[in-house]
Structures are given as C-alpha cells and as structure tokens.
C-alpha cells in the first residue's frame, strides 16, 4: 500500500488510472449488457436501469410511481408494447402539449427503450413487445384478406390506403407510410392516444399480419391510373380539376378571344 501511495504522483499514474477505469467499465459492460443471455439477472438489471431512465425522463409528467397525474395517464398495466411504440416512434417524451403527441425524433437507443419497457412492464401485466416473426408480413400475411379487415376496422380514420385523416379538435389519424411492422402491430395491441385497442381475440395476430401485409403492399404499389394525389380521393381530385383544369380552360378561352398583336 505504501508503495502504491508513494507512486501516486508518478507521471504515468493518470494513464494507469484511466486504463483501469476503462477495463473495469468494459468488464462490467461485458457482464451486464447482454442482459438476455442471463435471463433473471439481466431482466432485473433492465428494470433497474429502466427505472432510472424513467425517473430522469418521464416521471415529471407520469409521476415517480408511474401512476399518472393530471393529463398524463397511469402507466401501470400498459405493457412493454405501449412503451416500445410511444418511445420508439418518438411520440414520447412529449415535445410540447397539444391536441396529440406527434411522431418525432426518437430520443433513446433501442437498448434504452427496451429497459424502459422492462420497467413499465414490471409495474403490472400488459401486452408485451411482439417478436419479429409475429409481425413479419412474409410470415403468412395475406394482403387481400388484410385489405378487407383494414377497410372495416381502420380505413375510416386512417384512409383506405393508410394515408391518415382528420379527427376532432386538431387530433388526427397519422399516415402509416414507413411505419415499421412492429409499431403497427403494437399500435393495434395497445391503442395509443385516440386510437382504440384491437385485441388479439377480435383481430388475431394473423389478422394483424394480414393488415401489415396490405399496408406494405399498398406502400410499394405504383399508381397505374396516374397521379395518386395523396390517395385522399374525390376531394383532392375535385380540387385539381377545379383549380388546375378550370384555370387551363379559362386560359385557353382568354387566348382564343384575345386579338393578336
């Protein structure tokens, strides 16, 4: 010990200390990071880390116990899927108060999101994050059947091609283009914000995969009839016909009537 104390002013002492710190961090990381390898320990660790993230980033609105306050809902029982959707699409943490939380920049790494989700899932039973196979439209997803389910259950808000639409008082159903299959699945499972829940019993996981297959097919599909005009339908087509078409006709009529110079 005295030898160590004597050398603490050695010019290389700082370097050694930094190296030591790096090694310790690396070893700890190697032990703790692959949390899924050692099931129980890793999960408990995720919950602890998730709780730390929650207290630092979410508790100011949702409360230190996640039981909700004023306008922020209780998170007890919302499940990991809800956290993965809300935080994974950048809707949470909320950027500003408004009619609804818009999709925005994602603030956390996938690892942090799964830690947050593990913490919230530990508060009460709720829907978990679906596995990649469960949401993969290639896993038996039938776009045609999905279209029929989508038209009855989703199209009135999200538009028949998933392009979104208006709700009351500034709220809206978002455009679904570019949304990952996991997030679409989670949204149906958890009913974020204004959207209702579509349970696995009424819209089965197979139905949900069919819907995802339909949305992905529509997203990639070219529009053979000409410009899609945002797939909004007759309103947009009427607007173009009246503004562009009529303006062109009036222009032609004025030209026909004008004298040549």
């Amino acid at each position: 010990m005295t030898a160590l104390a004597a050398r603490r002013r050695h010019p290389l002492a700082g370097v050694v200390l930094v190296l030591l710190g790096l090694v310790v961090t690396g070893v700890l990381y190697a032990l703790l990071a692959p949390g899924r390898a050692s099931a129980a320990d890793g999960q408990a660790d995720d919950v602890a880390k998730g709780r730390a993230l929650f207290v630092a980033n979410c508790a100011s609105c949702h409360g230190i116990d996640a039981a909700g306050r004023n306008n922020a809902p209780s998170l007890v029982g919302v499940g990991a899927a809800s956290v993965d959707f809300q935080v994974g699409t950048g809707r949470m943490p909320l950027e500003a108060t408004g009619p609804q939380a818009p999709q925005s920049q994602v603030r956390f790494t996938p690892e942090q999101i799964s830690q947050l989700a593990a913490y919230v899932a530990s508060l009460g039973p709720g829907p978990g994050v679906p596995s990649p196979e469960e949401v993969d439209p290639a896993n038996g997803g039938d776009a045609s059947r999905g279209a029929a389910i989508f038209r009855t259950n989703c199209a009135m808000c999200h538009n028949f091609a998933g392009k979104g639409g208006a709700l009351t008082r500034g709220k809206y159903a978002p455009n679904l283009d570019g949304t990952t299959p996991t997030h679409i699945f989670e949204a149906m499972l958890t009913g974020p914000q204004s959207m209702p829940v579509f349970d696995d019993q009424t819209i089965t996981p197979q139905d949900k995969r069919d819907i995802i297959a339909y949305l992905k097919t529509t997203e990639e599909q070219p529009t053979p009839g000409g410009f899609s005009l945002g797939f909004i339908g007759p309103v947009n087509e009427g607007l173009v016909a009246w503004v562009v078409g009529l303006a062109a006709l009036i222009g032609c009529a004025v030209w026909l009537g004008a004298k040549s110079s």
Binding site: C157, G165, L167, T168, S194, V197, D199, E220, K259, S260
Partner: protein, 349 residues
C-alpha cells in the same frame, strides 16, 4: 373588301356632348360603329409574318411528334411477358402516362396551331352582313291562313261530333296506364326501415372475420366492428348489413351513462354504426375522449352519454343494442333494436 363597312359618318362615331349638357345623358346614343381596324404585326412586317408562319408550323410539328410518341409508347411498352403484379402496374403507368401526354400534344398542337394561324395570318377585317327580314310576305301569310282554314273544315271536326267526342274520351283515358305502371315501380318499404336483422340471442360476430366474441376478449378501450350471426347468409346481405352494423366498445363501467347500463355487459356496449343523420358508418372512435365521429358531416356522439349528439347535424342519439352472454359465454343480443336505426324517414314519427 366590298363587305367592309366604313366607319359611320360623324368622324369618330362618338356622340358629341354639347358643353351645356355636360354630365347629363344624351337623349339617344348614336351607333358608335366598329372600332378603327388595327393592323397586326404580321400585316405590316413581313418578318413578323414569317415568324408567325414558323410558329404555326412548329405547333403542327409538335402535334406530329405527339402522334409519334403515342404510337411508340403503345407498341414499346409490352405486357405479353410474364411479370409480377407490381411490375405490371408500373408498366401500365408508363403506358397510360405516355399515351395520354402524346395524345394531348397531338390534339392540342393541331388546335393551337390552327387558332394561332387564324389569329396572326388570316385576314381579320370585320364584316357586317345584315340579317334578312323575319316577316314573311303578305301573300305567304294569306296562303298559310287559307291552308289552316281549309284543313280545319276538311277534317270535319265541327260536323262530326261522334268523332270529336270519342277522341276527347280516348285522350282522357290515355294517362291511366301510367298511373297503374307507376304504382307498381316497387314494393313499398313496409316496416323494413324500422327493423333490422338482429334477433334475441343472436351472437355478435366480428366483421369481416365472423368470429364470436367473449367479454374477456375485449380489454377496456378496445373496439370491435360487429355484424349479427347469420347475416352473411342473408339473401339481401348488403341491405341488411347497412342497417345491422354495430360497433362494440368496452369502457370502464363507471364511465357509462346509467341509461346505457341495462343494455351493457361489464362495461361492454354495442351501438348502431349507422349515423342518424344520413346513414354513414359512424366508426371514428376516439378512445380517450370516448367520442364517435361520423366522417361524412362530423356529427359527434358521446359514448359516455348514451351516444348523445354533442356536435354536428345529427338530431338523435345512436340506438343502443342491448347485449348479454349466452350459455357458452359468447356475447349475444338481448333483443333486436328497440327503435329504428339510421336516418329519419317519413313514417318514423
């Protein structure tokens, strides 16, 4: 130019207002005649005329190019080899767009060229041609009157009352078949507007999967779109579905209005999906506000107030379908709707 009317007498052709009557309207406006003819650039400058000629030729040339584009696109974009559906659609898009643009150019080029030709190069002097008199000559008018009189006397209507009276009778009867035919244009609706497919004990099935539902399948905040059991076998399926479609929602039982409690099951309520305004499907459910919005005219119904109208043109609340569970634990209708669903009609009262 023999037809060219010279400017009318009075130099400018304008009414000259005497100084003492300045500001007052003249008794009568004189015909101002045609404005002085203005020569176009092409009339005075041969260069401009040649330029206009080239422009017209260019427009006709563009038309020819458009025709070629149409033909080339039609024959080069091929659909005869096997290809994926998406590939087929993208080729279809190229073909449609190319043919459309080509034909537009071909037709518009000819039209625009012809108009430009007429406006810049063809003679543009104004001509006046008087209309001929509309009144016929006296001799023609007398002839016409004579013919009418002769016809009337030759038909003998005045002399043969039997023919006249039987003709009047036949003309009076002729509209009667129309009354009989119009009466039979369709069966009267009877009570079909007041009734739906729902009967007591009918299971609630999801639309379009047609699966029965247990109360435990619905979490708070969830919705399901519902049709009655057996509807898919109904002969007039679409007419029946248009009346029987139902939205099933689960709320916290404490949120429900006491009026809707008797027809609810553990916070699960079923309401007609057909708007009471114009019959659109009211299915835009906002889970947090518990409001149902109709996409057609923005009528808004509050599920926590027994689907009372809180905004928009609808006048009546959405009818509730009373539900319960059967012996197997599946949700069923307690009885059919107790009032007519959908928009108002004459006999509804």
């Amino acid at each position: 130019m023999s037809g060219h009317t010279p400017a009318p007498p009075g130099a400018s052709g304008r009414e000259v207002v005497p100084a003492d009557r300045a500001g007052a309207l003249p008794e009568r406006f004189e015909n101002p005649g045609l404005p002085a003819h203005r020569l176009r650039m092409g009339d005075v400058d041969p260069k401009a005329a040649r330029r206009a000629e080239r422009q017209v030729a260019t427009l006709f040339g563009l038309s020819a190019i458009g025709t070629l584009i149409t033909i080339v696109v039609y024959f080069t974009v091929k659909f005869d080899t096997p290809m994926s559906f998406v590939e087929h659609l993208s080729r279809l898009r190229i073909s449609t767009t190319g043919i459309g643009l080509g034909l537009t150019l071909a037709l518009f080029g000819i039209g625009a060229g012809a108009v430009h030709w007429a406006k810049t190069l063809m003679p543009d002097e104004e001509r006046v041609e008087d209309r001929h008199l509309l009144r016929g000559s006296d001799a023609d008018r007398d002839d016409a009157v004579t013919i009418l009189k002769e016809g009337a006397s030759e038909s003998g209507l005045g002399r043969r009352p039997l023919i006249r009276n039987s003709l009047i009778g036949a003309l009076a009867l002729v509209p009667l078949p129309a009354v009989a035919l119009l009466r039979d244009t369709g069966p009267m609706p009877g009570n079909s507007l007041s009734t739906t497919f729902w009967k007591s004990g009918m299971r609630l099935l999801t639309d379009p999967q047609l699966q029965p539902i247990r109360p435990a399948d619905m979490r708070v905040g969830s919705v399901a779109h519902i049709v009655p059991e057996g509807l898919d076998k109904a002969p007039d399926y679409l007419e029946e579905k248009a009346k029987a479609a139902v939205l099933l929602l689960r709320l916290d039982p404490g949120d429900l209005d006491p009026k809707s409690q008797p027809g609810a099951y553990e916070g699960i309520v079923a309401y007609s999906k057909i708007c009471t305004h114009m019959g659109c499907p009211v299915a835009l459910y906002e889970q947090q506000t518990h409001q149902l919005l109709c996409p057609c005219h923005q009528s808004t119904f509050d599920v926590t107030q027994d689907c009372k109208v809180i905004f928009g043109p609808a006048k009546r609340a959405l009818p509730q379908l009373a539900i319960t569970v059967d012996a197997d634990g599946y949700l069923v209708a307690k009885h059919g709707f107790t009032e007519a669903v959908g928009p108002s009609f004459w006999e509804r009262g």
